[in-house]
Subunit: 468 residues, 2 copies
């Protein structure tokens, strides 16, 4: 099975097609370079051409043509993913969905939208229409697409209230095109949603999305400081446990993250300051201030609706989730990160244990997350990278303690997840992508069902730019 690239390009030439130039490389990359491990392996990955369909009909055409000519297709929203998710490991076609960005219908509590719509544009449309917004968004709200969020993301700002993206009720319906001789268009709801959510576009292309909405508020951004780190973690947890105080974000940063990496916050904190970043609904501010008043060890240092900082910090959520890593990286390029699950009810204990063992090599950055009705923490710990061996050892220390790791230094679904394939995703790939052309190299169970997970998986067909 060798790709007939020339024939595919010719057949698609009437579409928005990019066959060469710097754009090709740029559109073949995502934020994989957050990981020194992936940077060493994927830096040269490049597509052969980029096509940007304008409609579902054109998506079908691209998939049909590439199927006929055995050309791999890697779909791209905005390429803000972190695990090389959107990188065309085997080259071929990058299908860029930026033209498919229409908000099609808004109703009380729900919206229907095309996948290429930016999260911020989606929110703007919903707010404008009926003062609504999406329940949760990636902190890359300003640049990422809703399709990429569903196919590659996991949750984010809003997950402290609504849980994770894949929890029941957080996606209502997905419309999906398969990659077969005659691509089919399928509508997924309920249990079927799991087939393609967070499947990296390995088994179908999402062309329409129905999502639940929440009311839009003029969220108040806040920074609260504590001297003791565990005080900060408890503050965030206890606030999230206040059922009557509506929040959209509760993030905890161990000292000296704020002083060292948050340029505009630094003048207002010390090296030893632990920071809590919050978004609170305006009508919950009174409740919040009462809560705060009961905790004299916690100091409110910034509120967006009333402050005297000569330079405001910008949006607080752009300090949280993976933006923390971004800010740290900009100051210290040797920083990378880990994704940790600190599950209820051991969460605080585990956090303390990991911090005692590893700080400051590993600095705690915590995100409040609801899981099965309980407040717990997702850790996006900052790691001072020294070697791959040491990174693996740090991971092992977490796992031994009982803190599950979602390894962001791997590009396969399995290694970034629970080390086993999602059977529903694999089964659907068999149906929907019989030639295995969709985002190849990302699903080990497809390429190498007997893989033992004893070392990092290396996709054998990984094609670097220099080999082309």
């Amino acid at each position: 099975m060798t790709a007939n690239l020339a024939a595919a390009k010719a057949a698609l030439s009437h579409l928005d097609l990019e066959e060469s130039g710097a754009g090709l490389k740029a559109k073949s990359r995502d934020f994989f370079w957050y990981s020194p491990v992936l940077k060493a392996r994927l830096d040269e990955v490049c597509a052969d051409f980029v096509v940007s369909p304008r409609s579902e009909a054109e998506v079908i055409e691209v998939l049909k043509v590439c199927y006929a000519y055995d050309v791999p297709v890697t779909t791209r929203g905005a390429g803000t993913g972190n695990y090389g998710q959107a990188m065309p490991l085997a080259g071929g076609c990058v299908m860029h969905l930026r033209h498919m960005a229409a908000v099609k219908d808004i109703q009380p509590g729900r919206v229907v939208v095309e996948p290429g719509c930016l999260l911020k544009d989606l929110d703007a449309a919903c707010k404008e229409h009926s003062v609504q917004e999406i329940r949760m968004f990636s902190s890359t709200w300003a640049t990422a697409t809703i399709g990429g969020f569903i196919a590659g993301g996991s949750g984010g700002v809003g997950s402290c209230t609504w849980g994770s993206l894949r929890d029941l009720g957080n996606i209502i319906r997905l419309r999906v095109v398969t990659m077969e001789e005659e691509p089919r268009v399928l509508e997924f709801q309920g249990e079927e949603l799991a087939r393609v959510s967070h499947a990296y576009g390995t088994n179908g292309i999402i062309t329409e999305i129905e999502m639940p909405l929440a009311p839009a508020y003029d969220w108040v951004d806040l920074f609260v400081a504590t001297d003791d780190f565990m005080d900060a973690a408890r503050f965030a947890e206890e606030l999230a446990n206040e059922d009557g105080i509506l929040i959209k974000l509760a993030t905890v940063f161990e000292a000296p993250i704020a002083k060292d990496y948050f340029q505009r916050v630094a003048p207002h904190v010390e090296e030893g300051t632990n920071l809590i970043g919050l978004m609170v609904a305006p009508h919950s501010m009174d409740g919040f201030l009462t809560f705060l008043g009961r905790r004299p060890h916690a100091r409110l240092i910034y509120r967006s609706d009333d402050h005297d900082w000569p330079r405001g910090p910008g949006m607080v959520f752009e300090y949280g989730w993976n933006h923390t890593t971004l800010r740290a990286l900009k100051v210290d390029p040797s920083i990378t990160y880990l994704q940790v699950r600190y599950g209820f009810p051991q969460h605080l204990e585990l956090i303390e244990q990991m911090r005692d063992a590893l700080s400051p090599e590993v600095l705690q950055h915590l995100e409040v997350l609801k899981e099965n009705g309980k407040v717990m923490f997702a850790g996006l710990s900052l790691v001072k990278f020294t070697s791959e061996e040491r990174l693996d050892e740090i991971i092992r220390l977490h796992e031994e303690a009982g803190a599950m790791i979602f390894n962001p230094h791997r590009y396969t679904l399995e290694e970034g997840g629970r080390q086993t394939v999602d059977d529903r995703q694999l089964a659907f790939k068999r149906e929907a992508d019989p030639k295995g052309l969709l985002n190849p190299g990302k699903m080990i169970a497809w390429d190498d069902p007997d893989w033992a997970y004893d070392r990092m998986y290396a996709y054998p067909k990984l094609r670097a730019a220099e080999y082309r």
Copy 2:
């Protein structure tokens, strides 16, 4: 200190005043008769006159005049309370707030309203204005006032998401008038709210309320049936733990409550059917149906948006909270009830234990409630009443097992609560009601600070109608 009723009436004669007739008795009663214990004690309680002020200025006038002439004042919203809360134990004046029902201001996430506004009128105004509604309401939504809810209620429909009324953030601001020589008008926020919330109007009269709002949805009403009772309880808990499925009510009824007491449901269930009553947001119905599909032991027997019942059941919330007791009482006048707290994480265990020990004398009726971020249950158990001694014994059995009881067979704040005074309420009463004229007989700590709680408190000045 003897009340000069004649002088007070004369001074208030230019207001809406009722001095005699059947109305006087009717406006002196509430739903105290749910309790056979209170029925035996309070049946004859009656006010000397009823005054219905039209404004805060008139409230001040009433309080000032009654203060001058030593006339007790018991405030009345709609008189739907259950513990004799609104009953003028010492006679005197009932101040009825029905004319003070204006919705003054609606903003995103908040409303300002007068106390006499019915919950349903408040919701209608908020929905009409900006598709909003109050976060939670008593199941007496159609008849009760917002002021009575705050001064006498605890939570209700919506508490499965937002917690209890007195949790931080569920009331924003209260405007309160004191009963002094010169009544003062105070504005309470934050910690001060606790002074008058659920204080039965014993230490100040609420004249304006600012409450948070949630988005209004066309909630889908549902009934789900199971054969096993604990399956039903787990279903309700697990649903409430689904962070992405938005619900407003989750109620569990042990068999044979549905068959015996729910007339319109009875044709659709068996004696052995345990019932779950739910309100689910329309955009969460897909998630809900997925959740349901995973539980083959649970049968959806009714959904308000799609059913073939010849006679619909009406609103599902009017089966829950204290409406369950009402429906049971109508069929079997010997039924009364208890209010139980089944706290996380022992809740399911405790429920099973109490049911094993006491069913069918005590039938489980559970309401999902959020407390400190956890799903737990409030029990409004149906009790087949035989004697006061047996009722006390049933209470003792609960308490010994660790299930806290809020005794609805007592008319004092302390005995209906945690058996101790709320110091903030007592302290504020000293300030705001120096003569002790506001709703007398409801705060033991005021009347008899050394009371030992070894038996039911009996207010010495309790005045029955025949003594007048």
